[in-house]
Amino acid sequence: MKLQKNTLFALYSVLESAANPGRQYSAGEIALKYGISPHHLAKVLRTLGRAGLVESVRGVGGGYRFSGNAKRLTLMDVVQLFENAHASPQRRARHRSGVERGLATVLAEIEEISKATLQSISIATMLKLIQRQQRR
């Protein structure tokens, strides 16, 4: 599973804001930290806002803050907002040649493992993993 830029930006934003749930972040602040376009990130944050994962705070010093449940929200929940995670290469390949079907089966296997990994890691678990790696 190759993640699109939007998906990665969404994961950066969710993890940054969930690490400090009371704090407000501007799109510019997160964009600067990760060296990405603030305009592009603002679009991603709006999608996250519509999904209820962040909420926008208006006015001076406004921005976005995390509004999801870090223990329940998984990486897959975020990824699904930006990727077509339900596309099945095996189903698409039903009427193709034996070689194509064989390859589609192997690629579907890789996809299933990727999905299971993303579904099993909550935002809270991911934050613990980041902290552990920072301590090393």
Binding site: E112, A116, T117, S120, A124
Partner: protein, 154 residues
């Protein structure tokens, strides 16, 4: 009626005894919906009573009630892996989950593995079992350098 969550302090993790088997089997049945009386008798013979140092069958008890269990073993060179601890099963009553019982059980079996000189713990589970996968992930477990394979035998 919902039973109150057992307080972490009142919870005791100990080696399973023959008298615990019915409660363990009942917890498993409530979760899997598959009765396996012969399997549980065999598990107790192999792992129960603390008779073998490398094998662990532990239960979490609170106010005289079994709230969960964990089963595992230290194995040498299984699947080409140097000596490590394997967790074969871990279960907690659904109504008393999210109270740290699973964590206490896993900590206890890991402590047992450490006493055997083991520095790595592994487990294997269905990839669609998101609940237990998430639990092990939350405990810091990462993907192991193994790939499980299977074949339909006709």
């Amino acid at each position: 009626m919902t039973r109150p969550q057992p307080a972490a302090a009142a919870l005791r993790v100990r080696t399973a005894q023959a008298a615990d088997l019915d409660a363990v089997a009942a917890i498993d049945l409530a979760i899997t919906r598959l009765p396996k009386p012969d399997y549980w008798a065999q598990i107790h013979r192999r792992y129960g009573g603390g008779r073998r140092q490398q094998r662990f069958f532990l239960v979490a008890e609170s106010a005289g009630r079994i709230e969960g269990f964990v089963i595992g073993e230290v194995r040498d060179w299984e699947f080409g892996s140097p000596r490590c601890g394997w967790v074969f099963a871990i279960s907690v009553r659904p109504e008393t989950r999210l109270a740290g019982i699973g964590s206490r059980l896993l900590e206890a079996i890991c402590a047992g593995f450490r006493r055997q000189g083991v520095t790595k713990v592994r487990t294997l589970l269905a990839r669609d079992n998101s609940l237990i996968l998430s639990f092990f992930r939350s405990q810091g477990m990462m993907a192991a350098p193994f790939i499980p394979l299977e074949l339909d035998l006709h």
